[in-house]
Amino acid sequence: MDELIRMEKVTAAYGQDPVLVNVDLAVGPGDFVGIVGPSGSGKTSVLRVMTGSLRPVAGRVAKAPRLRIGYVPQVDTVNWYFPVTVREAVLMGRTGDRRLPWASREELRLADEVLEHLGIAEVAGRHIRELSGGQQQRIFVARAMLRRPQLLLLDEPTSGVDVRTRHDVLHLLHELHHDGLAIVVTTHDLNGVAAHLPELVCLHREVIARGRPREVLTPEVLERTYGAPLEVLVHGGMPVVVDPAAIAKEEKVVPMEGGHHEHAG
């Protein structure tokens, strides 16, 4: 198969509640795909099906032989008080490769190489809580990278971070993609993240649309995805999604002067 991973008519559920229904999704070498959708739309579940931690109740998942996947969880789920230094956390990426508790010279060299590449080598001995938001995200990207993955999956890597960290994370992902890594990233941030990605999948339990941001960030697709009317403007060649209900509420409080935007879709 040419793709790294292919989900065919996948239906997945937690107990009796289906979270994904007949999802077809393939990721090939060099792809950089963002998955967008409302809360509960199945974004994280797609990643969990790809890693194998959520088994489909119907359909099949085909993977390239000896596919190595790196998974970066939401940082909200991390126990920041757990006693691990940055280097110890990153070395967890080599868990299956050696039985002895201590890292080999080769593992330490690889870890230092990845930490250097991601710009956090100087904080390798620090506790994970002592790092800034962008650096904390890089710890878990580094852990995933230590597995030398062909496919990197990231779950909401910009959730709850400030603008600077979001920019930092996006820049890092574009660099890794440029280095040849296939990336799938989930996000709820349509304007700050999704619009800057090469390709998007709009998901609401099923795949609503897939394509470049300008092709899929349209009022029709967004209404089907989010179940609410949304408007799309184009600003500097980039689609900008706006919520008319939020704007109406804002205008009641402070009248704003109109900008010069082109309507899309």
Binding site: I69, R126, E130, D168
Partner: protein, 280 residues
């Protein structure tokens, strides 16, 4: 000088101090994972649950270690199963299973009063009453737990820190959890006669917490916890000879005293100017 070494001239004391030190090392080692997995209450509850199994073993003439050990593993698995029902929750599941098991033990105890004295030892510990067989069991369980931690150090750490990603990375978290449940149950059973049902939980929690206060590194925390556990066992047993108080209680009080000192010192250190988070 001769007064200081006097207790070592008695075999029962030599056995006692050895078994107390080993118990401290064992609980210090296993306790790190108990604390970091948020299972402190399960350690407390499990020791109570196993008491029921210990009484049942005596009643049915089954070997104490086999009967109580099997009871402990079953109790742990039952807690896991009950806790899976989201409407109940882990804390309530532990309360139901362990309290019922303790009540069962007490009911048997009141029905068959002839061996009450043995169970005073189980409740409060009796280091000086240990026999070579007890020494062998504690030594064997300590060695087995050390081998378990050594061989599974990496997957155990990954599954403790981040179970979901560990599973996604190929770690068999279900097997790891089941294996750890067995090690924990064996630890409680082996140290029950030494520290007592009521004090095991303290030794599963205090040494790891002291280690955590002293370091941010997992490997160092593990080493410190084992060291504090072992030293508390040794010092507590030794002091109990001169103070003429319960050895199990003295071991826990020594660990608690170390905790108070470390807590005060680390609190004072925290009030000093801290290194700022790195920018970037």
């Amino acid at each position: 000088m001769s007064t200081l070494v006097e207790p070592f001239s008695f075999e029962f004391f030599r056995n006692g101090i050895l078994v107390a030190t080993l118990s401290g090392i064992l609980t210090g080692l296993v306790g790190v994972y108990v604390v970091l997995r948020g299972m402190s209450y399960i350690g407390h509850g499990l020791s109570h649950a196993i008491f029921g199994g210990a009484v049942a073993s005596f009643v049915t003439n089954v070997n104490f270690y086999l009967g109580a050990g099997a009871w402990g593993v079953v109790a742990t698995l039952m807690i896991n199963r009950v806790a899976r029902r989201r409407t109940i929750g882990a804390d309530a599941a532990i309360g139901v299973v362990t309290s019922a098991s303790l009540a069962f033990g007490l009911a048997l105890l009141s029905r068959f009063r002839s061996f009450t004295r043995n169970f005073e030892a189980a409740l409060f510990g009796n280091v000086l009453g240990v026999e070579l067989a007890d020494l062998a069991v504690v030594g064997g369980v300590t060695l087995a737990a050390a081998v378990f931690v050594f061989m599974l150090y990496r997957p155990l750490l990954f599954a403790t820190f981040d179970p979901e990603v560990a599973e996604a990375s190929g770690v068999r978290t279900g097997w790891i959890d089941a294996g750890f449940a067995v090690v924990l149950a064996a630890t409680v059973v082996a140290t029950m006669q030494i520290l007592g049902v009521l004090l095991i939980a303290a030794m599963l929690v205090i040494p790891p917490v002291i280690g955590r206060l002293l370091t941010d590194s997992f490997g160092k925390m593990l080493g410190l916890s084992v060291l504090v556990g072992g030293l508390s066992g040794f010092t507590g047993m030794y002091l109990s000879w001169y103070l003429n108080i319960s050895s199990g209680a003295t071991v826990v009080l020594v660990a608690a005293a170390v905790f108070v000192v470390v807590y005060a010192v680390s609190g004072a250190r925290r009030r000093l100017p801290q290194r700022e988070p790195a920018v970037g």
